[in-house]
């Protein structure tokens, strides 16, 4: 049994939560002497010691609030630091997501970690290297210009004198201030310190294997779910069928025969059980008789009612993404006009590991282990919930399963805090599968309308795109379930569900792209919680815009790839991606649909291109459609991907493969079903996802742009997948899908009518 105490807790002299396993390698032996600042002080961005510490053995510890959500970001950030410091990759150890040890670099989201936190750590590393060279210059009696560094050892050119980083600073602080302005994603650290030219990179740009995978494959990795704390009890939440229900009565007698129950926790509308064992907590949560009130605000009766609501309700926020020329006039004056409406359902993040957290609330202090995307945001919410200053709360990140956006991982932290406070002991909360499917915030439903006009020569002269989406009800610092249940109020109507993908890759003479957020105009909160889901809103917008481009190409009897290149001409990166994906997929120019073949199996190919923030992706899907039953099989997806400078090509390919498979699943199968009384898909049988039997092959072409900054790769490549599949279905069958997912029923209906006729 080992105890692990943070270096700050050592300094503060406060008691630490004792966790009885070794979380990290024993670098603390070297680190223990490193004082990060005055006792009680939070790490400051302007202190070099807040970012990097070098042990006597030359091990480099990097402190970051950016967390690895299973995407390999810890490995990629380590490559950046090792490269800039000139130390071996294996010398790097990351301390991740502990609010007492790290500077708040903003939440890990939006594929922005490489783009934003990468430069922050690169510049801090370069500042550390500069400082080490200064120290070496004094020690070795040689000017900095004569010094070189290899594997953490500084040498004087010509005379053979050398000294290691470990000998220069090991066990001591730098005590150096560096410039730091802004905060979170926009934090700029030592921006003027000279960094290496990408042409000299030896570690960045190579397929370094992931640091976490060997421990994960041998079960020595510690997920949040594996965190065990001395004296820890087990909690389960007891939740109603819909968000706004409240417990009218709780019959504690109903569980009196279950041994090991510690407490039925009731506070406001929160109901949970705490027990000595998981099994007792599970049984009690299931058996506890609770009568729930019937809420006033019900979910719409079905999907049709949702789309009707989106169409008829006035937006509370509208963001013009592009506004060029006079779109209305150009559409009125067009030789020919086109219009179509597309539908996108609520979808789930579908995390494999239901949400989990461990909290220990002792008086006015709390320690929380949680797989939060934003440990500092969780700290703030927990502090608000407890009514204590933020510095009284320590949030420690531990990885869970891949989450693909904000979801219950943050909620579980609050559940654990409420239950730990109620029993005065550490409590581990584990949501059950029905809690996860029922209460994870969903990706919002969207209704998208596209209009276009062509002139007499057939040129597209006007493009008008409107995305009507529900907002994210659970984003930013909004209080989550447990907080709201105990009375903490949320503010506002939620945030816009992203804006990109509505045809902004192209340039038309007259072009208007608007993303609108539709409010929920009822007295009670929207019954179906919503939040960002991987490439938020982009799948729907790209599905609409790129399907519509395909319709325009078909109307012009043009090859879909050549047609796109014409309007992407001023966008070099999109043009390159289109050309590269065409080569990769052996694209032969011809209009769609393909000429019909005999037999039941129709084959087709479809293309789509889009940009997510600054990353550009083009994809070609090859499908088979069984005309007898409407079943679609995606055989192969080719992807050309440009996210600027590549840090780790294998890690990037891993992300792209995953995006293609998840995107295929969301395009073909996934839809949250509900009626007025609640969500109907509460397990994997009722919310199926893609399995091995339907996995497409994936081929990838990476465009590495050494002259550009490194940009995000975690989610952009999911954007074009549904559109490429829809266009391939059209190519195969001549049927245009305008509603996702592309279920056999919808495909058969589209084949009968020519479209799914969802024109609103």
């Amino acid at each position: 049994m080992n105890s692990k105490i943070s270096r700050r807790q050592v300094l503060k002299g406060t008691g630490a939560l004792v966790v009885y396993f070794n979380i990290f390698d024993p670098v603390s032996q070297v680190m223990a002497q490193v004082a990060p600042g005055a006792p009680g002080e939070e790490p400051q961005a302007a202190a070099l010691d807040s970012w990097i510490a070098i042990g006597r053995d030359g091990k480099v510890t990097v402190f970051t609030s950016k967390v690895d959500l299973g995407t390999g970001i810890e490995t990629a950030l380590s490559q950046i630091v090792a490269e800039e410091l000139d130390v071996p990759f294996k010398a790097i150890h990351m301390e991740v997501g502990d609010t007492t040890k790290t500077v708040d670099q903003g939440i890990t989201a939006g594929s922005r970690t490489i783009e934003r936190a990468g430069p922050q750590l690169r510049q801090a590393s370069a500042a550390a290297r500069q400082q080490l060279l200064k120290m070496a210059s004094t020690k070795l009696g040689a000017p900095v210009e004569q010094l070189t560094v290899t594997n953490g050892v500084v040498s004087v050119t010509g005379n053979g004198k050398k000294i290691s980083y470990g000998s220069l600073v090991g066990g001591q602080q730098f005590h150096v201030q560096i410039p730091a302005t802004g905060e979170g994603w926009d934090l700029k650290v030592a921006p003027d310190v000279h960094v290496k030219s990408p042409n000299d990179y030896k570690i960045v740009g190579t397929p370094v294997p992931r640091v976490d995978l060997p421990t994960k494959f041998t079960a020595s990795f510690v997920y949040t779910q594996d965190v065990r704390v001395l004296g820890m009890l087990h909690g389960r939440v007891v939740r109603p069928a819909t968000v706004n229900s409240k417990p009218a009565s709780v019959d504690e007698e109903s569980v009196k025969d279950i041994p090991g129950i510690v407490k039925i926790v009731r506070e406001g509308s929160f109901v949970g059980v705490v027990a000595q064992t998981e099994w007792a907590a599970i049984q009690a949560a299931k058996a506890l008789k609770v009568t729930w009130t019937t809420p006033e605000a019900k979910l719409p009766a079905n999907a049709d009612a949702v789309y009707d609501y989106l169409l008829k309700t006035k937006p509370f926020a509208q963001r013009p993404v592009v506004n060029r020329g006079n779109t209305d006039a150009a559409i009125s004056g067009g030789a020919k006009t086109y219009e179509a409406t597309f539908r996108w359902p609520f979808q789930m993040h579908g995390m494999m590991a239901p949400s989990c957290a461990v909290a220990d609330v002792q008086g006015k202090k709390a320690t929380v282990y949680a797989p939060s995307q934003g440990p500092f945001e969780t700290r703030k919410r927990v502090a608000t919930l407890l009514g204590v200053p933020e510095e009284n709360v320590q949030v420690i990140y531990r990885e869970a399963s891949g989450c693909y956006g904000r979801l219950g991982t943050d909620d579980a932290a609050e559940d654990a805090v409420v239950m730990s406070r109620a029993v005065g002991k550490p409590v581990r909360v584990q949501w059950m599968r029905e809690d996860e499917h029922g209460w994870e915030p969903k990706g919002p439903s969207q209704l998208l309308t596209v209009r276009a006009a062509v002139d007499a020569s057939g040129k597209v002269v006007a493009w008008d795109f409107l995305d009507r989406s529900f907002p994210w009800t659970e984003s930013g610092g909004q209080p989550l379930i447990a907080s709201r249940q105990v009375g903490v109020k949320g503010e506002g109507q939620g945030a816009l569900n992203g804006t990109g993908g509505g045809g902004d890759t192209y340039t038309f003479d007259n072009q208007r792209i608007v993303a609108a957020a539709i409010p929920w105009v009822q007295a009670e909160a929207f019954p179906l919680r919503t939040s960002p889901l991987r490439a938020p809103g982009d799948l729907a917008r790209v599905f609409a815009s790129e399907s519509f481009m395909d319709e325009l190409a078909a109307a012009a009897n043009a090859d879909p790839l050549q047609f796109r290149l014409r309007y992407a001409a001023s966008n070099q990166r999109a043009t390159d991606c289109l050309n590269e994906v065409g080569k990769l997929a052996n694209w032969q120019a011809r209009p769609a649909p393909a000429s019909a073949a005999s037999g039941n199996i129709a084959k087709g190919r479809g293309i789509a291109v889009c940009a997510r923030s600054t990353t550009v992706v083009a994809a070609v899907a090859e499908v088979e459609v069984d005309r007898s039953n409407g079943e679609v099989t995606v055989k192969k997806v080719s992807v050309a991907h440009d996210c600027g400078l590549i840090i780790n090509p294998d890690g990037l390919k891993n992300q792209i493969e995953g995006n293609v498979i998840q995107g295929t699943s969301r395009a073909l199968m996934e839809e949250v079903k509900f009626d007025g009384s609640g969500i109907k898909n509460l397990d994997w049988a009722s919310y199926p996802i893609l399995r091995y039997e339907k996995i497409p092959n994936v081929e990838i072409h990476l465009i590495d742009r050494k002259e550009m900054p490194a940009l995000g790769g975690g989610e952009p490549s999911i954007g074009p997948i549904p559109a490429a599949i829809a266009n391939a279905i059209f190519d195969a069958t001549g049927a245009r899908l305008r509603e996702a997912p592309f279920t056999p029923e919808r495909v058969l209906a589209a084949m009968r009518t020519g479209t799914t006729s969802t024109r609103a």
């Binding site: 299973g70 294997p209 041994p259 998981e278 099994w279 239901p354 059950m432």
Partner: protein, 156 residues
């Protein structure tokens, strides 16, 4: 509560538990194993897979009392960080995961497959692993890893 004897990873263990407790919670909470993971508790996802008497079973759906006389192997029972089992080594070689939460089920199910069929085809691998869910989309890499472990050529 009852005293229950288990044979896990070639070691004899005795636990005090309600005999109806699903094996998963005993393995995780009483024996402190991390390999079997809670994913659904419904036998639908495969994250909790263990090998019991040569078969891949869902430990969330087996009462601990029913596992008393069985030979149980968890992911910990295959190999270690220092000495990984050839399957684990192949998964590392192929970098066959993202979050890896589901990989317990993938690796143990592949182990059972390879024990019966040393050189499975792609379709046989897909068929065997089909019940195990993965949300990150690591399927293609897993197939390559299983082929590598079987000594088959692997194309990138």
């Amino acid at each position: 509560m009852a005293r229950i004897s288990l044979r896990v990873n070639n070691q004899s263990k005795v636990v005090e538990a309600d005999p109806r407790t699903p094996l998963l919670y005993v393995l995780r909470d009483d024996l402190e194993l991390h390999g079997p993971r809670f994913g659904c508790g419904l036998g639908q996802c495969g994250a909790c897979t263990v090998i019991m008497d040569g078969k891949a079973v869902r430990s969330c759906s087996v009462a601990v009392s029913a596992a008393q006389n069985a030979k149980i192997t968890t992911l910990e029972g295959l190999g270690t960080l220092e000495h990984p089992h050839p399957l684990q080594a192949a998964f590392i070689e192929e970098q066959a995961a993202q979050c890896a939460y589901c990989m317990n089920g993938m690796i143990l199910t592949a182990k059972v497959l390879l024990d019966k069929n040393a050189h499975p085809s792609d379709d046989e691998i897909k068929q065997a692993l089909n019940p195990i869910l993965c949300r990150c989309g690591s399927h293609l890499r897993v197939i390559r890893a299983v082929k590598r472990a079987a000594g088959e050529p692997v194309s990138a």
